[in-house]
């Protein structure tokens, strides 16, 4: 390690260098003495002078025993910036942890790994320092063991170089990527720098102090960042109380973490005095709080007492929280039925025997068709609906409705009989994955045994981690990508839009011509003499043009919405309005091209809406003319319904699950069939048009591969540039 200055040199007036202390991201740090004998640390700012000085200036007058004091900012003769700081004689927590996990490093002094009764008093001081910073409106943003110093029993937070004021209105105001990967909260990738990122970092640090390893590790920065985004820490080796605290700190959603350090201290069994000093929580704390103040029971004789305490406190917690222990009351079961949401019911359906059988059968059919790659339950549902539509079209609506109704009643009864408290604990059913929102898990924090990790345990570079729910991972990834997409300039967005329009138009045209050939081969367009006629060509032109217009409409809306949070109701409404216009155009086009729908349809089949029979036009007759063909209102109703019923924007979304899905086409056609069943729109033209539109939209729309960690790479590049 080479430093620019050596012992005895005086680069800064009034101070003599004694030795180098370390070299950080921003510059060298020296131990020096003032002319009067004051021991100080001098930090020479080499990089990002303005950023560092600005951050330090904000912290210049902060005073707290758990913060490294900053005395002054000085400039040498070369206008090189120096920060005069408190000299910490001890080592950094990083060095301590490294030494603790090194079997050759000799005795460990105070804070052995895995001993909460020794670690927590030190960790509580770190929280106290952080809380003081937050109280001053400052987010540290780079909390890590290398920035925490242990000085004769005192823990001090240092390196304010990256600290920034909390700005409630501009939390995303920074453009630079900051922090250290292992301790970096997931939302930093989105440019959010709230105080929650410090809470997250503290959760990582506590985990590392207890186990000697970080919860999210990997061979590359991308891997680490992705784990921050998508993986849950493996807390199985930790006592319940500490696991609860760490899990809450490491919640992916910042709003689910501790609101501040005081709340975290309280859960660890400490409190903060008005002066900012940390002390063990007095006995008047809540009954369900774990005794984390260093008095953890360790002897076998304490086990019975501990068990009794657990039971008592557990009962108290249940009463306080209104949650029964083993079973749910009838009212809770009914409430659960309506509150667990689609995901909850989906999970319950996986256990319901009849659904399992049906799903298994559908899987077999799907595999038989050679599309077994996707086992997503949405496809099963789509297939189920497809069968339902086919049944409906074939006139079996009554039978189908009866079956579905009976199943709904059966499922409700089955649900009430099988839902348990354990089911309600499943994090995938709740938005908050942390145990805080989970009262039953909370009771497990009562009392904790001695940590299972012993001193000398070596760090495991490949710490195990399990994935979060697919839905949560997908949501986070999408949010990150939307952030990236939103950063495009106007010309880039316009380029992608025009590209999609051109491409989708070409595909729609080609697909329509191909559809024409299919129609001819099936006799749909043949005239009496069996060859193409101008009317049939007109129908193909209608198909092509309407497919193109529908595609353009969808692509335009999708490009506009791809950076926005999905609002299904609003989007459907907008699409429906667009459908009304498309219907009007369709009607005018039919009139202009003189398409004789009746003769074309008569050539195929005497189709009639199955749900209303031949007297269908009693209440819908306003949509049809005397020949039972759709008029202007019919066209508008059909297109409005078609645009409304299918979430088309998803097929064009750059962040969709797959680039191309045959199921999306099938689904679109089935939905068109469903709409057709109501409005008796010329079929199969409307089905082809829906299928062609879906095909064109999917192929022409840009797509970002979810498996490609673009966000991670972007953050990594920014970090590298920053370094």
């Amino acid at each position: 390690m080479k430093f620019l200055y050596g012992n005895g040199q005086r680069p800064l007036e009034g101070y003599v260098i004694r030795r180098g202390i370390g070299i950080g991201g921003f510059g060298e740090v020296y131990f020096a003495e003032s002319d009067s004998g004051k021991e100080v640390a001098l930090k020479r700012i080499q990089k990002n002078l303005d950023v560092e000085i600005r951050g330090v200036r904000h912290c210049l007058n902060l005073r707290h025993p758990n913060l490294v004091a900053i005395y002054d900012i000085r400039y040498d003769q070369d206008q090189q910036g120096w920060i005069v700081m408190e000299f910490i004689e001890g080592e950094s927590l990083r060095d301590h942890l490294d030494r603790s996990t090194d079997p050759l490093a000799g005795p460990i002094h105070s804070y052995e790994l895995g001993k909460p009764e020794r670690i927590l008093p030190v960790f509580a001081q770190i929280i106290a320092g952080m809380t003081y910073l937050h109280d001053q409106g400052i987010v540290h943003r780079d909390l890590k063991p290398a920035n925490i110093f242990l000085d004769k029993g005192l823990a001090k937070i240092g390196d304010y170089g990256l600290s920034k004021y909390i700005s409630a209105s501009r939390r995303a105001g920074q453009t630079e990527s900051v922090g250290t990967f292992h301790y970096m909260a997931p939302e930093i990738g989105k440019g959010e720098y709230g105080k929650e990122i410090d809470i997250y970092s503290l959760g990582i640090i506590l985990f590392e102090m207890l186990t000697g390893t970080v919860p999210f590790d990997g061979q590359s920065t991308q891997e680490i960042l992705l784990k921050h985004l998508t993986a849950d820490p493996d807390l199985s080796m930790l006592p319940d109380g500490l696991a609860h605290v760490i899990a809450k700190c490491l919640a992916k959603n910042p709003t689910h973490r501790y609101r501040d350090g005081r709340e975290m201290l309280h859960d660890l069994g400490f409190e903060l005095s008005a002066a900012g000093f940390v002390s063990p929580l007095v006995a008047s704390g809540p009954a369900i709080r774990p005794p984390l103040n260093g008095n953890a029971p360790t002897k076998a004789s304490d086990q019975s007492t501990q068990t009794t305490a657990r039971t008592t406190a557990r009962t108290t917690a249940k009463k306080a929280l209104g949650i029964p222990s083993n079973s749910l009351s009838t009212s809770q079961r009914i409430q659960a039925f309506f509150t667990i949401g689609i995901d909850g019911h989906r999970e319950m359906l996986q256990r319901e025997p009849i659904f399992q059988q049906v799903r298994s059968g559908l899987e077999s059919i799907k595999n038989w068709f050679g599309s077994s790659s996707s086992k997503d339950s949405n496809n099963s549902i789509a297939a189920l609906v497809a069968i339902a539509v086919i049944l409906a079209v074939s006139g079996a609506a009554t039978v189908l409705g009866s079956i579905l109704g009976a199943y709904a009643i059966y499922y409700s009864l089955w649900f009430f009989g099988h839902v348990t408290a354990e089911d309600l604990r499943k994090t995938s059913w709740t938005k908050d994955s942390s145990p805080v929102s989970n009262p039953l898990a909370m009771q497990e924090t009562v009392g904790y045994p001695t940590a299972k990790i012993r001193p000398g345990t070596t760090a495991n570079p490949r710490s195990p981690s399990k994935p979060v729910s697919t839905k949560e991972a997908k949501r986070m990834w999408k949010a990150q990508q939307q952030q990236t997409l939103a950063q495009r300039d106007f010309w880039s967005s316009a380029h992608h839009w025009l590209q999609s329009l051109t491409f989708s138009g070409l595909i729609a045209a080609v697909a329509s011509i191909a559809g024409g050939f299919i129609a001819v081969s099936n006799g749909y367009l043949a005239s009496s003499n069996g060859i193409w006629n101008s009317q049939a060509l007109g129908a193909i032109a209608w198909l092509g043009l309407m497919s193109i217009l529908c595609s353009w409409t969808i692509v335009t809306f999708a490009r506009r919405w791809e950076t926005k949070q999905e609002d299904s109701i609003a989007f459907r409404f907008a699409m429906m309005v667009a459908g009304l216009i498309l219907g009007a155009v369709s009607f005018q086009l039919s009139e202009f091209l003189l398409i004789p729908w009746s003769s074309i349809l008569n050539a195929s089949t005497d189709f009639q809406t199955p749900w209303f029979g031949k007297d269908f036009n009693r209440w819908l007759k306003g949509f049809y003319d005397a020949d039972r063909l759709p008029n202007l209102a019919g066209h508008m109703a059909f297109f409005a319904a078609l645009m409304w019923i299918v979430r088309w924007w998803r097929q064009s979304d750059a962040l969709r699950k797959k680039k191309f899905s045959i199921w999306a086409i099938v689904w679109s056609m089935l939905m068109a069939g469903l709409v057709q069943a109501f409005f008796y729109f010329p079929s199969p033209w409307c089905l082809w048009m829906a299928g062609t539109t879906s095909l064109a939209v999917q192929i022409a729309s840009p797509w970002i591969d979810p498996s490609h960690p673009q966000l991670a790479r972007k953050v990594s590049e920014e970090k590298d540039a920053h370094a």
Partner: protein, 201 residues
């Protein structure tokens, strides 16, 4: 009697290199002429450590204990023992390797040396500065660098000589060094893994 020299190692710490046969320990205050001064509530001259061949002998001038046993008479120190002065100040005496009589004296209690020291080294005939546990002066390499070398000091008739073992880029006062060199105060020794300077105390 000259005060012990101070070894300043960048990124590691500072060490008092006690070369004389007798090392006195006392309270740190201006004018108190002891070899090792501690900022604490102890006597001006609390004790003396004497080198006797391969061992160190301690003689107390105020109430002291070793590993909890009151110190009644001059006693030979053994590696790992804890010296307690005035009930509060605790020091650990360590001999990292039996191959050398050099010992390390560290403050264990919440007290500090004056000036700031990581430890005091009671020099025998050799001293090892390196990253391994048998080093008298523990000198871990910079993060990310794997180093198993060492600086070996050994006593000669006319002073101390240093030999760098597996120390890449070794220079002494900006002059590349390949052979053992004489250690002088003020001479800055640098390598890619460690750099240090010895100064007067």
């Amino acid at each position: 009697m000259p005060k012990p020299k101070i070894l300043w190692i960048d990124g590691v710490g500072s060490y008092a290199m006690c070369d004389s046969d007798e090392v006195s320990i006392g309270q740190a205050f201006p004018g108190n002429d002891v070899d090792l001064a501690i900022r604490g509530d102890l006597s001006r001259k609390a004790c003396i450590l004497c080198r006797k061949g391969e061992d160190h002998l301690i003689q107390a001038y105020q109430s002291m204990s070793i590993d909890g046993q009151p110190l009644q008479r001059p006693t030979i120190l053994r590696s790992g023992c804890i010296l307690r002065i005035a009930d509060r100040i605790e020091l650990r005496y360590t001999r990292p390797t039996v191959l050398s009589a050099t010992a390390r004296l560290e403050l264990v209690s919440n007290h500090r040396w004056q000036p700031v020291l990581t430890a005091a080294i009671l020099l025998g005939d050799s001293c090892i500065i390196g990253p391994t546990a048998d080093a008298h002066v523990l000198c871990p390499p910079p993060r990310g660098i794997d180093w198993n070398g060492r600086f070996v000091w050994f006593r000669q008739a006319d002073g101390w000589v240093c030999k760098g073992v597996a120390c890449p880029g070794l220079t002494a006062g900006d002059t590349p060094i390949g052979a053992p060199f004489a250690i002088k105060t003020g001479l800055r020794v640098q390598s890619e893994v460690a750099s240090w300077t010895l100064t007067d105390g």
